[in-house]
């Protein structure tokens, strides 16, 4: 007898009860808090009253105008509350302190000088609240003496990953807008959960950091670990698809686009590929007998397959591959992904209501699934300071009189 699956409470949130002060801007820091908020943490984004997070001001991407809703800010900051606070005013600092006292996590990606200027360093905040998890996302790590600007692509340039990719002689390749920030933010969120687990056992918080540099070295691991182990150019230099190490796991142009062929090096895989492309001579050819020969003559093999695969379209090849168990995929575009049923079925993409334009919009969904406590998008990013009064009143327990005094001081708008 198979026991029934335990019924999840539809309203249950995995991280309910965790309160996060989110003092971050742009992407790497905010996305860490977004991951926590998607699973039920209460995230209070603290922003300067003038303009707030500069991510609110993004006007163009890839030299195209962002259009009628600022998806850049609104999606990264979904499920959050916004409190506008002037940290240069004593009242702003007092509010921040009370927020820190009543929160579980403080998260920031501001520079160490800014944090010091506002007296928001680790030592003081952890005295204020010994249970606080104090998390930062830095550029180059919490130790050492590298202190320079750290935008995503410049840090990626240092890791060696960009120099490794692309055809020999081509310019280095950047993995895409915010590719390293996404990794750093995710690792910061993971670090915060590690520290919260430890706190449950000890009653004490601690400092957490995930840097852009560390995250991007980690991203490069599939090649970088090989380089560290061997020191070999095979891992660090650009390598042409025409002379691959594994010729049957390679990209190939078809009549109408590229295919990624994903087969092993064994004879069985080879036989299937030859059968699927319908070339009996190829399978018998002496140059390509055995995995070792195929590797040695990879260049000739790729030339032969290039010539053959160019004869039909990618979808024709996919049909022919299927009965032979040949694994491959057409190399798709973002437009294909946007209508990929697999992405929608798993909520990697979803639709949500956008109040700003009063229509349903497509957004990236949840990159990890929790069966009983699934991620949820209750709201897109807040307006600047949208919950300032609410948080001061309900979360921090200030009276209307006190709130009025803060306004007079211009600590809050």
């Amino acid at each position: 007898m198979t026991p029934d699956r335990p019924k999840g409470d539809a309203a249950a949130r995995a991280l309910a009860g965790i309160r996060v002060v989110d003092l971050t801007v742009w992407f790497q820091g905010p996305v860490a808090a977004q991951l926590l908020a998607d699973f039920g943490a209460e995230v209070i984004k603290v922003e300067r009253p003038q303009g707030g997070d500069p991510g609110r001001g993004v006007r163009s991407i890839r030299a195209l105008p962002v259009g009628d809703w600022n998806q850049y800010f609104l999606v990264i900051n979904r499920n959050k509350k916004s409190v506008a606070l002037d940290l240069k005013k004593p009242g702003g600092r007092a509010i921040m302190d009370r927020l820190v006292e009543r929160s579980d996590v403080f998260l920031s990606n501001l520079g160490a000088e800014s944090l010091a200027a506002w007296d928001l360093g680790y030592e003081r905040l952890c005295r204020l609240n010994p249970r606080l998890v104090y998390a930062t996302t830095t550029g180059y790590g919490p130790f050492g003496n590298v202190d320079k600007p750290s935008f995503d692509m410049t840090v990626q340039a240092l890791t060696g990953l960009m120099a490794r990719l692309g055809e020999p002689g081509e310019p280095p390749i950047y993995l895409g807008m915010g590719s390293g920030d996404a990794c750093g933010g995710l690792l910061a969120a993971l670090g915060i959960l590690l520290a919260l687990h430890h706190r449950r056992r000890t009653g004490r918080g601690q400092r957490v950091d995930a840097s852009l540099y560390g995250a991007q070295l980690f991203l490069a691991a599939p090649w970088l670990q090989g380089y560290l182990a061997t020191g070999s150019d095979r891992y660090s230099k650009q390598r042409s698809r025409k002379t691959p190490e594994r010729p049957l796991r390679n990209t190939f142009p078809t009549r109408d686009g590229w295919l990624f062929l994903c087969m092993g090096e064994d004879d069985e895989s080879w036989s299937r590929v030859c059968g699927a492309v319908g070339d009996v001579d190829l399978e018998k050819e002496a140059l390509f007998q055995g995995a070792e020969q195929r590797r040695r003559h990879a260049q000739q093999l790729v030339e032969r397959l290039d010539a053959i695969l160019a004869r039909r379209t990618a979808s024709e090849w996919m049909e022919r591959f299927e009965p032979y168990g040949v694994l491959a995929s057409p190399i798709r575009t973002l437009a294909d992904l946007a209508r990929d049923p697999q992405a929608w079925a798993n909520e990697y993409l979803l639709e949500t209501w956008c109040e700003e334009v009063r229509r349903w919009v497509a957004i990236r969904g949840f990159p990890v699934g929790l069966g009983a406590t699934p991620g949820r998008v209750d709201s897109l990013g807040p307006e600047l300071g949208e919950q300032t009064e609410l948080v001061l009143l309900e979360t921090l327990g200030y009276s209307w009189d006190e709130i009025g005094a803060f306004k007079e001081e211009r600590a809050i708008p």
Binding site: T2, P3, A12, A14, G67, Q71, V146, P149, F151, D152, T154, L158, G160, L161, A163, L165, G166, E167, E170, I173, L175, G176, A182, C183, A188, L190, G191, L194, L196, H198, R201, Q206, V208, Y213, G214, L217, A221, P222, W223, Q225, Y227, A229, T230, T251, F260, C262, S329, I331, R332, L334, L337, A338, Q342, A345, A362, I363, R364, P367, V368, L370
Partner: protein
Amino acid sequence: VGDVSDAAPGGFARALGDLLVLDLTTEFCSGVATGFLADFGALVVRVEELPAARERRARARDADPEAGWDFLGELAHRNKRSLAVDLEAAPGAEILRGLLRRADALVTDWPRARLEERGLAYRDLSGARPDLVYARASGFGPKGPDRDLPALDELAAARTGMMPILPQPGAPPVYAAAGPMYTAALLAFGVLAALHHRAETGTGQEVDASLLAGNMYGASLDLQAYLAMGGERFLRPLARLDAGNPMSGVLYRASDGRWVCLTMPETDRWWPGLAGLAGLDPADPRFDSHEKRCGASRLELIRVLEDVFRRRPASEWKAELDARRLSADVVEEFAFPAEDPQARRNRYVLALDHPSRGPIKTLGFPIFLSEAAARLRSPAPALGQHSAQLLHELLGFPEARIAELAASGVIESA
């Protein structure tokens, strides 16, 4: 094994010292996910299935015949224990059931059909263990028409839509192999979120991550921009010299063929410094506003900078850029982080004396915790290195019983 690279900062506590995790995985990606848990002190038992594990390890060792050792496995499986067991044999299946009674979390990447056949699907286990966290990595997620496609990152990357737009126009699509790393961190995040929920409520649940989700997560900003804005410019590569902002996200070639990378998105802030570096007048009327630099004079500024950077070698540019505190750097190869004191100081790269390999370098720990830092406590285990110890400590098997299981080939004990 000694972590001899630096005096390791951070406290010695184990953040996850109270957890027992069963690692029933075969792929690098899911191995790295449980590796995070092991690095932070969970007892991670890598259940290696006999006899297949012997061949799998041999293949991994020979993946780079010149290296002759499994350096990716070393990264994924450090700090874990190995239990080698024949799960087809009745006593082997009983051992797994015993471990499942004790485990806080199970992490697997086995195909669904295989898990069901072995009675290891979530619904098979959750009745007896409603508090179990059950995590599975797959290629394409637990739902949808392609949920049973194999977990190959190349297939997932091909589906994600970034491969065609990474290179220069006309060049072949680019495979970056970063998908498994995003996915590994996502799976570990999901496990810890579920453990948090369990600590609050006593209830476990299923967790899933996939290579498709991981690749999509890495492409977040381009993907979301395309979803909202559309446009051909997201579907084909942009030429290097067609950058939207000549000062940000652009590569220029130095006289020695190396590349300089500029990231100065708010050009007003950086222009005086960059103009000085380039020998231009900051008040040059062609370039004296952000609107001109990124608008009417955009292509002209790109041409000017292209010409300027070709005049001197990259090392000289780097010195100049650093001196002027500009947001830019020279594109480096892996030799740079391998030797970089900053990477060592933060333990992103470790140099250590490996018990069987001697002095080696390996990737370290991308997350820092001040009171419970990740540690290299032991290298990746040999096949079955801890079989006897684990059966004794976790299941209370007497020595004679362990010897009998080893003699009959149900377990391998190194």
